[in-house]
């Protein structure tokens, strides 16, 4: 089996799904002008609340609902501090993350005795017909319902942002809050909405983690909240871009999991790793070049040559599992470095709005 088999595809979707929930929410918040660094904490609280409620009731759907509620609660705190009190959003976010870690660890040990009881999980939902497609059918159309819901959430986020009045006002609150205010929409309410959506979706994303595993582990989000924020940046604050970025992170995470057990990196991986390289090479060479066309061709030829060399003579690289685990984080640094500039960033991101201080 090659590294990019149906199992990899299925794992990619499962690993990307929590990110898709959280990142779609974060994108809404950021488009409304709130940089919500507390996303990680909201996911963690969601994961814990979902675990607890599912453990008690035995119904994972109630667990997801509890995760949503937990995320909302933390988001409300974020909104009070950053919208009402106009505190430094980044500092508040850092505080929320530490608070969430403490609260979940504390409650887990104090009330659940740190036990590892397995909770009731979802059974896969198969789409008729579609799931019978050979090879990819099972991977794409026979997943637990939360995976499908993730894409629904992302679609809804797109619809609300770009096809409704509310979305227009939300985007205005993040780009030029004074304009939104002048047009009669309350910037505070809009930012509250954005933050709450981020919290609710992050909570659901967190509940995905605990419910799909069936257990809760202290600090189990392990930086996924931050990966989701990186996905929003890499996706240039757009719904489709954000989902694609999440899928990329999920794909690399799934790939590193399967590469951990291999003696050397297979040649297909080298070939695929070249694609982003080509893109970055083309992008960086396109500006400030005297004769664009020839420069581009040269860079492209060089990269292609390197790729051919790697494909024909795959270097026998094998990394220990501890280093493979860091792959998604390294990737997020690389893609953020590749996403040139801050093009697409909401202009008023992380700037508190004061009616009496409009410039």
């Amino acid at each position: 089996m090659g590294p990019f088999d149906a199992f990899w595809l299925a794992t990619t979707l499962q690993l990307a799904s929590p990110l898709i929930f959280a990142a779609s929410g974060e994108m809404m918040a950021e488009r409304a002008g709130i940089l919500n660094i507390g996303l990680e904490g909201m996911m963690l609280v969601g994961a814990f609340a979902a675990y607890w409620v599912t453990l008690v009731t035995g119904n994972p759907w109630l667990g997801v609902l509890a995760g949503l509620g937990g995320g909302l609660l933390l988001a409300a705190l974020m909104a009070v501090l950053s919208v009402q009190l106009r505190s430094d959003q980044i500092v508040v976010g850092v505080g929320l993350n530490i608070l969430a870690l403490g609260v979940t660890n504390f409650a887990f040990r104090q009330f659940l005795g740190g036990n590892q009881a397995l909770i009731h999980r979802f059974s896969p939902l198969s789409f008729p017909v579609l799931s019978n497609i050979p090879v990819v059918g099972d991977a794409l159309f026979r997943q637990i319902p939360l995976v499908d819901l993730g894409f629904v959430a992302a679609l809804l986020a797109w619809f609300v942002l770009y096809r409704t009045r509310l979305g227009l006002s939300l985007r205005a609150a993040g780009e030029l809050p004074a304009a939104a205010d002048t047009a009669g929409s309350s910037v505070s309410v809009l930012r509250w909405v954005g933050t709450l959506v981020a919290g609710a979706l992050a909570g659901v994303g967190g509940s995905f983690l605990s419910i799909s595993l069936g257990i809760f582990v202290q600090g189990m989000t392990g930086g996924r909240g931050f990966l989701a924020i990186a996905a929003v940046i890499f996706g240039r604050w757009r719904p489709l871009g954000t989902v694609l970025a999440c899928l990329l992170f999920g794909g690399v995470d799934a790939l590193q999991l399967s590469l951990q057990g291999r003696p050397a990196v297979p040649r297909e991986v080298w070939l695929v790793a070249l694609v982003p390289l080509v893109i970055v090479a083309l992008r960086t060479s396109s500006w400030r070049a005297p004769s664009r066309q020839s420069r581009r061709m040269l860079v492209f030829a060089l990269v292609a040559l390197a790729g051919l060399a790697f494909f024909l003579f795959p270097p026998s690289v094998s990394l220990p599992s501890q280093l493979w685990t860091t792959a998604p984080y390294v990737l997020s640094l690389v893609v953020m470095a590749g996403a040139i500039g801050r093009h697409g960033m909401p202009s008023a991101l992380s700037i508190p709005y004061r009616r009496d201080r409009v410039e």
Partner: protein, 320 residues
């Protein structure tokens, strides 16, 4: 207090245990003081980075890399250099390593506009992976039984300050570096450029200051301080061995200290004492009153939120 009561424990007993665990007797005080240096250094690091309006949340990673460098120097290099130079050399390497690790995020910010909050956090996870690999691979102790490195050469360790306690001489670095940071930031040209860049980036740029360079340097200096903290965790009070997760959350606790000190270097020391005591006493509190030591996290999170929220009230008072 309220949270302790919620947990169903006797709050008076819990508080008593907290105080006894942090200040009751020489050993407890010595343990509290051992936590002082890393907290102080990280807090100073936050202040230095924040002076140029950059947020460094990568102290955990910078501590880890500093510790790795110190351990490497103390284990493999120290036998080849004369005794009096071993410790200073290991510390220096750690400072450089911490600074360089922060410089990755700084340069990504300067060249590619990468948000430094995300990049420093990602670098934390990468550093955790690197240390986990080192202590299970290249730097593992010779018997390959335990996930830690061989011990550092004893002559490269900080000597003990008090007999029968974990406290070592490096704790004196805390007040020294507080004074040094204050001096550099308020009484030197470099500090002036730093504060100018932080308070009005545009004005600084028009005045001919290379604000990018200043910012990169401030982030690197911030990482260097964390690297120093890492070296102390290895060469000071600890076991003298490199082990996974030895940073033990100091990288985040130090941020809380800086926020409580309201980004004033001189206020860092008392704030650090407070949080060192919290950390030191929470173990005994858990043992005696049955209150989970996780309470410390909750307290810290609440403190950050309160400090952030109260900025609004200060602003209102200033307006009135």
């Amino acid at each position: 207090m309220l949270i302790i009561a919620l947990a169903g424990a006797d709050s008076v007993e819990a508080i008593n245990a907290l105080i006894a665990g942090s200040f009751g007797g020489t050993i407890a005080i010595a343990r509290t003081l051992t936590f002082l240096l890393p907290l102080t250094l990280v807090a100073l690091g936050w202040i230095v980075a924040f002076s140029s309006r950059r947020i460094n949340v990568g102290f955990e990673g910078q501590i880890l890399m500093g510790g790795v460098a110190a351990a490497w120097a103390g284990i493999y290099l120290a036998p080849h250099i004369p005794f009096p130079l071993q410790l200073p050399f290991a510390v220096l390497i750690a400072v450089v390593a911490g600074g360089l690790y922060a410089a990755i995020a700084a340069l990504l910010w300067a060249w590619r506009g990468v948000n430094e909050i995300i990049s420093t956090l990602m670098l934390n996870f990468i550093a955790t992976g690197i240390v986990a690999w080192l202590v299970a691979g290249p730097m593992q102790e010779p018997t390959h039984q335990f996930p830690n490195s061989p011990p550092v050469v004893p002559s490269a360790l900080w000597p003990h300050l008090l007999p029968n306690s974990t406290l070592t001489w490096d704790v004196l670095l805390a007040p020294i570096l507080v004074a040094f940071t204050w001096f550099v930031m308020n009484r030197t040209a470099a500090g002036f450029l730093l504060r100018l860049t932080g308070s009005n980036e545009r004005a600084a740029r028009f005045a001919g200051v290379s604000t990018r360079l200043v910012t990169v340097m401030s982030l690197a200096a911030s990482g260097a301080l964390a690297g120093l903290a890492g070296s102390s965790l290895i060469l000071g009070a600890g076991t003298g061995k490199l082990a996974a997760q030895f940073s033990a959350g100091f990288g985040f606790d130090g941020i809380v200290v800086a926020l409580v000190a309201r980004n004033n270097p001189l206020a860092v020391l008392p704030a650090a004492v407070l949080f060192a005591a919290l950390r030191s006493g929470s173990g005994l509190m858990e043992a005696r009153a049955g209150v989970s030591s996780q309470l410390v996290f909750i307290t810290q999170g609440l403190v950050i939120l309160l400090v952030a929220g109260s900025a609004f009230l200060f602003e209102q008072m200033a307006l009135d």
